[in-house]
C-alpha cells in the first residue's frame, strides 16, 4: 500500500518537475516548483521524516518559492525571449543526460552494491526510547553535529548580509526620506500662502 502511494506521488513529482522546465511562463514554472515541493514533502512523510517534510514546506514553499515568485513578477520578463535557442541546446543536453542516466542505472542494478549493516544513529533504538522524529533530530543536532549546525547558521547570516549588500546598491539616490530631514521640517518652509 505504501509502495503504491510512493509510486503515485513520485510520478507527480517527476511530471511537475518536467513542467517546471518546459512551461514557457516563468510564473507558472514557479507554481509548478511549489507543487513539486509539496509532493516531495509527502514522499518525505512516507519515509517517516516528519520534521524534514514540514521544514521543506516552510523553507521552500514559504520562503524560497515565494522569493522566486516575487522576483519573477518584479522583473517583468517577456515570454518570447525565453524560448529562443531551445532546439540548439536540447539535443546536446539530452545526449549528456542519457549518458549520465545509463551510467547511474548500471550502478543501481548491479549486484555489487553493499549496504552497511548498521547505521551510526539507529532510528529504531531511539524510537523505542519514546522519542519522536523531531526530538531525536534535535538531540543529535545540538550535540554531535553542533559545530556543523553553528557553521550553517553562520552561512545563513552571510547569505543575508550578502543579499542585503547586493540588492541595496544604490545609495546615491534613495527613494526613502531621511528621518533627520523629516524631523527638521517646520511649517514656515513648507506651507506657502499666496
Amino acid at each position: 500500500m505504501t509502495l503504491y502511494f510512493f509510486y503515485f506521488f513520485s510520478s507527480i513529482v517527476i511530471l511537475s518537475s518536467f513542467l517546471v522546465i518546459f512551461v514557457s511562463n516563468p510564473v507558472h514554472s514557479v507554481l509548478f516548483l511549489i507543487f513539486t515541493f509539496f509532493n516531495a514533502a509527502i514522499i518525505f512523510l512516507i519515509f517517516q521524516a516528519e520534521f524534514l517534510a514540514m521544514t521543506l514546506l516552510i523553507v521552500y514553499v514559504g520562503a524560497v518559492a515565494v522569493l522566486f515568485l516575487f522576483v519573477v513578477m518584479m522583473l517583468n520578463i517577456s515570454e518570447s525571449i525565453i524560448k529562443e535557442g531551445f532546439l540548439r541546446y536540447f539535443p546536446f543536453g539530452l545526449l549528456l543526460i542519457s549518458i549520465f542516466l545509463i551510467e547511474l542505472f548500471m550502478i543501481f542494478y548491479s549486484d555489487e552494491i553493499i549496504f552497511p549493516e548498521s547505521g551510526l544513529i539507529k532510528i529504531n533504538e531511539i524510537m523505542n526510547l519514546g522519542m519522536n522524529n523531531t526530538k531525536s533530530l534535535g538531540l543529535f543536532l545540538y550535540t554531535d553535529y553542533f559545530i556543523i549546525f553553528q557553521i550553517s547558521g553562520f552561512l545563513l547570516l552571510l547569505a543575508m548580509i550578502g543579499a542585503i549588500v547586493l540588492a541595496h546598491s544604490d545609495f546615491k539616490n534613495p527613494k526613502s526620506i531621511s528621518p533627520i530631514n523629516q524631523k527638521n521640517v517646520d511649517k514656515k518652509t513648507i506651507i506657502k500662502l499666496n
Binding site: F6, V13, S29, L75, I121
Partner: protein, 100 residues
C-alpha cells in the same frame, strides 16, 4: 521498499534539473529553479537512505542541504535583481557583463 525506488526517483529529478540548465539557456531564473530541483533530489536520496538503513544521520545532513539551498537562492536572486537593474534583461548572453 527497496533502494531502487527512491534512487530512480531522485535520479530522474536530478536529470530533469540537469536538462533544465541545458534547455533554458536564455533564462537565469529557470536555471536557478533547476538547481533547486537538483538539491531536492539530493535531499530525497539522503532521506530515502536514512529510511532504508535505519540511520538518522541522513535526515540531519538533509537539513544542512536545506540551509545551503536557502542561502543559495537568496544570493542568486539578489545577483539576478541587480543584473536585471543594470542590463534590463535576464539573458545568459549578457552575463559576461558581471565582470564589471
Amino acid at each position: 521498499m527497496q533502494h531502487i525506488h527512491f534512487l530512480t526517483l531522485s535520479t530522474s529529478v536530478f536529470a530533469i534539473g540537469f536538462l533544465g540548465i541545458f534547455v533554458n539557456r536564455k533564462n537565469i531564473i529557470t536555471i536557478l529553479m533547476s538547481i533547486e530541483l537538483m538539491l531536492l533530489s539530493a535531499n530525497i536520496n539522503f532521506v530515502g537512505f536514512s529510511y532504508l538503513l535505519d540511520d538518522l544521520s541522513g535526515q540531519i545532513f538533509s537539513l544542512f542541504i536545506l540551509v545551503v539551498a536557502a542561502a543559495e537562492a537568496a544570493i542568486g536572486l539578489a545577483i539576478l535583481t541587480i543584473f536585471f537593474k543594470k542590463t534590463s534583461s535576464i539573458s545568459i548572453d549578457n552575463i559576461s557583463k558581471l565582470k564589471g
